[in-house]
């Protein structure tokens, strides 16, 4: 038996490969992590006598741009997986590269946003809303960076597995993709909650 069993063949008792079940269990814990912060936001906002006008405090155009970037990187990620699954290495490399580019662009826009806030004297210590804004978007940005590290590995040294064990490589791309799409899902909720309401 391999050191890591059931990486490509389905485990009979779960009906899944171990990495597939593992990533979903991990994401379940991530839902609760972000869920606790979302509920803290709702509790503090509903309990506050006054709350900052969010759409006037933050940049809606920049956040909309970031939403488009992250959604685009999600579709390039699934296209990268499709390229890997169909055995087209150049297609896989193109779309995985575009996914990495999307993640980098997202972080650049986020850095511009942060620097704008700091230049106007708006810090996490300014009020509860900004404390939650920086905590939620900062935690999300860390998740984007983590996803980019995994994707960069799969685009670089990780592709050695392409010829050695192609099915396992494709599964790795799918698992990394599931994580990347989760990061997109979190932003899909952060965008209206922090910028539009």
């Amino acid at each position: 038996m391999d050191a890591l069993p059931y990486t490509t063949e389905v485990r009979p008792d779960t009906g899944l490969t171990n990495p597939k079940l593992g990533i979903w269990l991990f994401l379940a814990s991530e839902v609760m992590l972000f869920g606790s912060l979302f509920s803290a936001y709702a509790l503090l906002r509903t309990g506050a006598p006054f709350w900052p006008d969010q759409s006037a405090t933050l940049s809606v155009p920049l956040a909309t741009l970031n939403t488009v970037i992250l959604i685009s990187s999600s579709v390039t990620m699934v296209m990268a997986w499709a390229g890997a699954a169909s055995g087209k290495l150049s297609r896989y490399r193109l779309f995985m590269g575009l996914t990495l580019l999307g993640g980098a662009l997202f972080l650049v826009v986020k850095a511009i946003e942060y620097s704008e806030k700091f230049s106007h004297g708006l810090y996490p210590s300014t009020n509860n809303f900004l404390a939650l804004y920086f905590t939620l978007t900062g935690l999300h940005a860390i998740h984007v960076i983590a996803g980019m590290v995994v994707n960069a590995y799969l685009l670089g040294p990780g592709t050695r597995m392409w010829t050695r064990d192609h099915l396992r490589f494709t599964n790795r791309v799918e698992i990394a993709g599931i994580y990347w799409h989760f990061v997109d899902v979190v932003w899909i909720f952060l965008f209206p909650v922090l910028y539009l309401l």
């Binding site: 379940a28 709702a42 006037a56 909650v193």
Partner: protein, 120 residues
Amino acid sequence: MSAPVPTTHAINVRPYLIVFGTLLTLTLVTVAVASLNLSESTTVLVAVSIATIKASLVAVFFMHLRGEKPMVFWPLGLTAVLFAALFAFLLWTEGDHLFGTKFSDAFGSAPKAAPVEGGH
């Protein structure tokens, strides 16, 4: 050991592109609705509903939940219950004043027209 699985197979990417277009459209709809200055409760309802639809599309198509094995849905179902419990607690404690937020500037200064709250 199960039967050998073919290592490559053709993938139909058309559904992914359709979902992509739908997600972009729903993003623009969210921004447009938020700019209409509807009541706070209506804006929250519409924005969260659209976000839920978008997240579901990503989960079902991009994350391949469509046609996934039942074992995946057990931990997700438990997570959904616990997530709902977080917000049920919120409704229990704050349910009588969920909406009607009085807005201030970024530094928390109260609007001039707003009544001044008394001390508790």
